[in-house]
């Protein structure tokens, strides 16, 4: 088993709170890892550190065996889909323009069509990005993330605010990318049912990591699921 991600004793301290507290886990090639945790559990903070957007942390993050602080080359092998892609609503960019932004080599333009077909959005290629629905936009951002044939796809709660039909399609696409193209997927989600169906590994994060292992081991252990649900509920109450 090839280890593609190794996170070792990661701690991220914000002025008033420890956002991530001594978290360690590894991801193997071909894994479909679901990271679950309540709001404010540190999922986006963890991703920001993994993607090199925040380098103020203790511990180490390695991709493909190399410390991310030493080289940014690993980013070429990663596709990233943010929670809600933020862009100027009337930004004059077509679907084609947006996907092309992700392309590292200008010469690979032919890949764009292929990816758009794969995600069922080829008919939208000349539409302006801001004119599409949330679900369609999300597929465009996945296309952008996939256009360089990444080895790892990182998705941060990617279905927030999207209709159920689009979510189902989105999940089936993820499943196919993982099983047919062997793309390692690291995916944070609120949706326990979806994680149960899709992921083969689960990491349960609430500032500290209180579970990491095979999906079956988590979901067959009622105590763990209950513990997670209670933590999540408390956080929910706290937020309201």
């Amino acid at each position: 088993m090839l280890r593609v991600v190794e996170i070792d004793h990661l701690t991220i301290q914000y002025p008033d709170v420890k956002a991530i507290d001594d978290v360690s886990f590894t991801v193997n090639r071909g894994d479909f890892l679901g990271i679950i945790g309540p709001n404010g559990a540190g999922k986006s903070t963890l991703f920001a550190a993994m993607l090199g957007l925040n380098t103020k942390y203790k511990g180490t993050i390695k991709f493909f065996g190399t410390d991310t602080r030493k080289s940014k080359n690993y980013l070429k092998e990663i596709g990233y889909v943010p929670q809600k892609p933020i862009f100027e609503k009337n930004f004059p960019a077509t679907v084609n323009d947006v996907v092309k932004m992700g392309l590292q080599k200008e010469s690979d333009v032919s890949k764009i069509d292929e990816i758009l077909q794969l995600l069922w959005i080829h008919e939208l290629s000349e539409r302006r990005i801001g004119d599409l629905s949330g679900g369609q936009q999300q597929r465009v951002f996945i296309a952008k993330a996939l256009v360089n044939n990444p080895k790892i796809l990182i998705l941060d709660e990617p279905v927030t605010g999207i209709d159920q039909q689009s979510i189902d399609l989105f999940y089936s696409i993820l499943k196919e990318l993982n099983s047919k193209k062997n793309i390692t997927i690291i995916w944070s989600s609120h949706d326990l049912d979806a994680v149960n169906k899709l992921a083969n590994h689960v990491a349960c994060l609430n500032r500290t990591l209180f579970f990491h292992g095979e999906s079956n081991d988590f979901f067959s252990n009622d105590d763990l699921v209950k513990q997670y649900s209670e933590a999540s509920m408390q956080e929910h109450m706290h937020h309201h």
Binding site: L51, L53, P92, L103, Q104, K144
Partner: protein, 273 residues
């Protein structure tokens, strides 16, 4: 009379320089508008006023000191904004007022306003020399080549900074490059519309074109077309009726903008068809 104006060499220079500046302002301005930095051109123009006053007082060619002062102050302001987390509009206000303040003090020290100052405030496109025209064409060429070479990085970091960073685009360097190019563009354009109306050429053709274009390149081309039309018509009409070119050019741009709004309100503008 009407066709005679095409025979004057000053008119040839004015129209050629005007077209180059129209293209430059449209392209650089589109990046600024989409970054919600519409008034940045205005701020650089005002800071260049300090540079012009400095040049006139020191007996140097005012545009050279304007290039120096406005580019350096824009870069410093961008650095301060990032370092101390000042919002974009506030940093624009600081840059804008400090340029005018410096200019006014220098003008006071050197004995008051002169005709030269007015030509920089309101533009003097009919007075551009052969050397000015060559300079304008060369700078336009260089900036367009830089934009073509770095097109993906410029577009991506304008679209979404965070995602561009994750894709390995050196976003901070690109931001400074845009500020640098905006500085050069503004000072180069002073001769056409003057310090006071520059932001019109940066903003109006672009906000109009954004209502028509689907993709980025298409929008840029539409914006350039509107801008060139406004500049050439403005120069010709202002000459025929003996009015100020800068004001006429900007009114043409505003006219196209107003027509576009009317077409849009009537429901006749749909990008999806």
């Amino acid at each position: 009379m009407t066709f005679e104006i095409f025979t004057f060499s000053f008119m040839h220079r004015a129209i050629i320089s005007g077209i180059a500046i129209a293209i430059l302002c449209s392209v650089v301005g589109l990046f600024l508008v989409l970054r919600r930095y519409s008034l940045f051109g205005d701020a650089i123009a005002h800071s260049s006023f300090g540079g012009i006053a400095l040049g006139l007082m020191a007996g140097l060619y005012p545009l050279w000191t304007a290039y120096g002062v406005s580019i350096v102050s824009a870069l410093i302001m961008t650095r301060i904004k990032d370092r101390f987390n000042i919002s974009g509009d506030a940093s624009i206000a600081v840059l804008l007022s400090s340029g005018i303040a410096v200019g006014l003090v220098i003008i006071g020290l050197s004995g008051g306003f002169t005709l030269d100052i007015f030509s920089f405030l309101f533009g003097s496109i009919l007075l551009v020399s052969v050397n000015d025209t060559i300079l304008i064409l060369s700078l336009t060429g260089i900036i367009l080549i830089v934009i073509l070479l770095l097109y993906r990085q410029l577009l991506y970091s304008t679209f979404n900074e965070e995602q561009a960073k994750v894709s390995g685009v050196p976003v901070e360097k690109i931001n400074y490059l845009i500020v640098f190019m905006a500085g050069i563009t503004v000072v180069t354009s002073i001769q056409l519309v003057g310090v006071l109306l520059i932001s019109a050429l940066f903003v109006i053709p672009n906000v109009t074109a954004i209502m028509y274009g689907k993709g980025f390149k298409q929008t840029a081309i539409i914006s350039m077309s509107f801008s060139i039309f406004s500049v050439v018509s403005g120069i010709l009409i202002s000459y025929i009726f003996d009015i100020t070119p800068a004001g006429t050019i900007v009114l043409f741009a505003i006219g196209i903008f107003a027509c576009t709004m009317a077409i849009k309100s009537a429901g006749l503008l749909s990008r999806n068809n």
